[in-house]
Amino acid sequence: MRAARPMQMLIALLSLTTAVACGAKKPPIARPMPPPVPPTNTAAPSRPPAPPEPVVEPIIVPPEPVRDDAISAASLDDLNRSSPLKAVFYELDSSELSAEGQRILDQNAALLKRYPNWTVTVEGHCDERGTAEYNLALGERRAIAARAYLVSLGIPADRLRTVSYGKEFPFDPGHDEAAFAKNRRAHFVITAK
């Protein structure tokens, strides 16, 4: 108690002196200063949580850089052939996004923000180890999981539609784990730009 009291006194004294100091120089302006809290607000969180920064970064890039003309000039087919939006892969019987899947979707989201006119179909695909029927729903789950993550990163939901092809369109016709792994995916097709 005794030790605390001098500390409190000190703090009170310090704040008082700063207030007095400010007030002494520009009495009318000192009061309005506190209201513009928003700027201090952005500054404060930037120190503890780093994550928001990477999301903000892509927006800063100008939407029409000269060297990106190749992408914006390409036809839809050429664009999809080069598939700038990378596919996300899933585990057997699962529609959960892996850490790697989220990383890929982060990149896809950045690209989608850079080209705000793109609308995209998220296709859900499955490997042949599920039944044809149930896979229709599982593929939809995978497409929805990818879409929901993109929406959480700020991509407008109406730019992303989903469709499931179950195991009807395998990317690799093989019957081994390497083929299966390629076929369990959310695949992105740009439908308008």
């Binding site: 019987d93 029927e133 469709v163 009807e168």
Partner: protein, 454 residues
């Protein structure tokens, strides 16, 4: 088509087995030779021994002779398919002189062969039509026990035989044969490419065929993915899942009118999959994400009056109706893995029916059997299993010959059609409800998700 003719002893044994097949057959027993697993029932006496000599061509031309030959062979296959009637092997009566009409049948010789019944038929050209006459004689009394006459065109002689077979089964065994029933399935055999995608994707279209795989015909021209067809109870329409609007939707092709109905349409209907007709043909059950998650819905066949049956954040898909139309079986992963559940058509009384590793595509058999067939994961692939709802027992019909999926019962419940990769690509096969008598129906491309007409 290659068809195996069952030895006589085996046919007797199986014939006697049908009424007694319901008591829990140990799964291992189905693998044993049928002569061992079955005891011949004396009830009603031994089965009659029948003979089927080649039909008599009454017109002298080659076409009539060809029709007579074809009708005889198809009738032989049709009658043997049900394994209800016992036929004397044909090579044992090769030496019996052929009759030239119903008047000079050498009954004495047939009697020597111990034939009880004899099917004699004639084929005759009458103008532009073909007249086929058939009589089933009692060899002892030399009386005609059953006789029919058919007039038709030479275009499809198989239809004479199919009709005859169904009528013989009906009159002799009170059995609804399946000779005139049809199959439907999806196929990528034409190798047509899906438009609007840069990937090399083959479209799938809906095909139909006779029950024995003959007369395969394409019935859709969607240039897209058309899958999982289901026959309407009247056999005049096929409901299926089509991507022609981009997402998956329910369509009905009225195959004899050439018209198309859209059951699910509009902006906010989500994905819609796997329609199943109610037994009276007035309603369709299907799975839809219209409320955000795959749930089971029932709508009138024109798409009106949509009602939701399930309400769970898990996946609910692949509905099928009970023969009475009061219940719907479906697949749900609400318990963690996909299993078969049954719910009342009113959405009440949900119950879980399987506890396997992974099940899908329930198919409810017709009366008198009260069974649900489904695909069950076994090792790397799937096998067809059948759950007896009365006893709660499950037995296996396939044993890892490739992966086996998408079973559907024949209208009389005595056979199943299913997809198997046992011969390489996915092909449609049929088998008897005891897993025997497996026949390959398709051979070109991938052919999947079959259904049998009602």
């Amino acid at each position: 088509m290659t068809k195996s003719i069952i030895p006589g002893v085996l046919a007797i044994a199986l014939l006697a087995a049908w009424p007694h097949a319901q008591p829990p057959p140990p799964p291992a027993a189905t693998q044993q030779p049928s002569e061992v697993e079955v005891t011949i029932s004396g009830e009603g006496g031994a089965a009659p021994r029948l003979a089927l000599p080649e039909f008599i061509a009454l017109s002298p031309d080659a076409e009539t002779a060809a029709i007579a030959k074809s009708v005889t062979q198809v009738l032989w296959d049709d009658l043997n398919f049900e394994r209800e009637l016992l036929f004397i092997p044909r090579d044992t009566y090769a030496t019996i002189p052929r009759a030239t009409s119903f008047a000079d049948v050498p009954f004495d010789r047939w009697r020597e062969l111990n034939a009880d019944g004899l099917i004699v038929g004639t084929v005759q050209k009458v103008g532009t039509t073909v007249k086929v006459e058939m009589r089933l004689f009692n060899v002892r009394s030399r009386q005609s026990a059953f006789a029919r006459q058919y007039d038709g065109t030479a275009a499809n002689p198989r239809l004479f035989a199919h009709t005859m077979s169904d009528e013989i089964h009906k009159s002799q065994r009170a059995l609804n044969g399946v000779a005139r029933s049809k199959l439907t399935f999806d196929s990528d055999r034409d190798g047509e490419r899906m438009g609007g995608t840069v990937q090399n994707r083959s479209i799938k279209e809906i095909y139909i065929s006779d029950y024995d795989g003959e007369n395969q015909r394409r019935v859709t021209v969607g240039k897209t993915l058309n899958i999982a067809p289901r026959w309407s109870p009247d056999g005049r329409s096929i409901a299926y899942t089509s991507y022609r609007r981009g997402g998956a939707n329910i369509f009905i092709s009225n195959i004899f009118q050439g018209t198309l109905d859209e059951v699910t349409k509009g902006d906010k209907v989500g994905e819609n999959w796997l329609p199943a007709w109610s037994p009276d043909g007035t309603r369709v059950a299907f799975s839809s994400t219209r409320d955000g998650n795959p749930e089971i819905y029932v709508a009138n066949r024109d798409g009106s009056n949509v009602r939701r049956l399930t309400n769970h954040p898990g996946i609910d898909i692949t509905p099928t109706w009970s023969p009475s139309g009061t219940q719907i079986a479906f697949t749900s992963d609400r318990g963690g893995t996909p299993q078969i559940y049954v719910i009342g058509a009113d959405g009440l009384n949900l119950s879980k029916k399987t506890s396997e590793g992974y099940c899908d595509r329930p198919s409810w058999s017709a009366a008198p059997f009260n069974e649900i067939a489904f695909a069950s994961r076994s090792g790397p692939g799937f096998d067809i299993k059948v759950l007896d709802l009365t006893t709660g027992t499950t037995h296996v019909l396939t044993f890892g010959e490739g992966t086996n999926e998408s079973p559907a019962f024949s209208p009389n419940g005595r056979h199943l059609v299913f997809t198997s990769t046992r011969s390489g690509k996915a092909q449609v096969f049929t088998m008897a409800r005891d897993g025997k008598n497996v026949r390959q129906i398709t051979r070109s491309g991938n052919n999947e998700k079959p259904d049998w007409s009602k």
